[in-house]
Amino acid sequence: MGPDEYLFLLAGLKWTVALSAIGFFFGGIAGLLVALARTSELRVVERITAGYIGVFQGTPLLMQLFVVYYGLALIGLKLDAWVAVSIGLTLHASAYLGEIWRGAIEAVPKGQTEAAKALSLNYTSRMRDVVLPQAFRISLPATIGFLVQLIKGTSLAAIVGFTELTRAGNMISNQIFQPLLVFGIVGALYFIMCCPLTLYGAHLERKFAKSAR
């Protein structure tokens, strides 16, 4: 493997990071809305978001990316590969994060909301100032766990022809016929991204377990 090959892999890595960041950022925003809708105590809204979550958790990410890229193209909406993948990852992440954060919101003791209501705080303030900061802490280990899944999940973007880290590795390995070496390096790069997050998640979990007395 020469410097060109390494640079090619790094370009792929750059896209893996970018796709993960996009999916996590937009998926996070949409996921927050999903979580709020899911806990809104409005029957219809809760049902709809429950269905949304069910669909995206119940089907493979690969298929979701497929549908967004080829499916939308079939009905005449031709998207750039990276736009399609970003949309697919965002939808996927919003469903998972929405469900994680719904659980966390519901895990905040009811007395917290009651105390906030008794102090005449409105819904926005109850959520922003009282419930969400506590829910965020509760959800951190699971949220980080999902981020790790998402980083690895971006490798599926390869099927729509997107050259992220895994596909870059595949292409190089086809050129230089050293699959073991190339995929060893690719695997190491994923590991370097994900392992610190996993360790950090485990650390937070231990910390919260301790402070929960």
Binding site: Q112, K117, A118, S120, L121, S125, D129, V130, Q134
Partner: protein, 256 residues
């Protein structure tokens, strides 16, 4: 509240509950509750577990919705739309058995959050007000700590100060000392007694009968979701009229 609305005697009640009924699904938790509390009056509410004491006071600030009758606080009729609910909640403070302090905020932030968000005070104003009230409940040195660093009794006094920071006209207490270790009960009761002496209108759900004797204008006994008996403490304790009241008093005073 207009001056005109203050002229009738009914409007002078700080809290008025008329023919209030409440259901949890098919279960009726409150039956025909009629209760009028004058400004400055102190009510102690007692009764066996499940008799509806919490439900009654939680209807007053609409933590529970009621289905029939009418509740007025100050001059405001408590409807089911958020405008009147918010208006009533700004006038009514509540203290819970489990304190319910916000664990991620400091003591001072616990006390300033609602005045800033709900009354629109500046941060400096809210902090000034909070520090004065923390002083009054004798906990000013703890202002920068987090709730978990305080004892139960201290937390409950913070909860009282937090409610007072809204400058409410009425304070509701739902068994404020039941979750406390015995040695901390007195410090919380003393705080409540001071508040009573300063003229606060109070409804206290409590089984602290010494407190009832000392500060209550009226003691109300509930059973099975209805008000069974109400009387000034002297009469209530020495000469209860109803069999259920006598039985309850026998149990509760016998325990001590």
């Amino acid at each position: 509240m207009t001056q005109a609305s203050m002229t009738t005697s009914a409007a002078q009640a700080m809290i008025a509950m008329e023919r209030v009924e409440k259901w949890y699904g098919a279960f009726q938790a409150l039956h025909d509750i009629n209760l009028s509390v004058r400004a400055g009056e102190k009510i102690v509410l007692c009764g066996p577990s499940g008799s509806g004491k919490s439900t009654l006071i939680r209807c007053i600030n609409h933590l529970e919705a009621y289905q029939k009758g009418e509740i007025r606080v100050g001059g405001t009729v408590l409807g089911h739309e958020s405008k009147t609910i918010d208006a009533v909640r700004r006038e009514v403070g509540m203290v819970f058995q489990q304190f319910n302090l916000f664990p991620h905020l400091t003591i001072l932030e616990n006390c300033t959050l609602a005045p800033i968000r709900s009354l629109g005070l500046s941060k400096a104003e809210a902090q000034g007000r909070a520090r004065k009230l923390l002083e009054r409940v004798k906990i000013a040195e703890q202002a920068e700590k987090y709730p978990a660093q305080l004892s139960g009794g201290q937390q409950q006094r913070v909860a009282i100060a937090r409610a007072l920071c809204m400058q409410p006209k009425v304070m509701l207490f739902d068994e404020p000392t039941s979750a406390l270790d015995p040695e901390m009960v007195k410090e919380v009761l003393d705080t409540m007694i001071t508040l009573a002496e300063e003229g606060m209108t109070m409804i206290c759900v409590t089984h602290e009968m010494g407190f009832a004797r000392q500060v209550a204008d009226r003691v109300i006994f509930m059973a099975s979701g209805a008000i069974v008996e109400e009387a000034p403490p002297a009469e209530f304790f020495t000469n209860p009229r109803h069999e259920r009241t006598r039985k309850f008093l026998g149990e509760i005073l016998g325990r001590h």
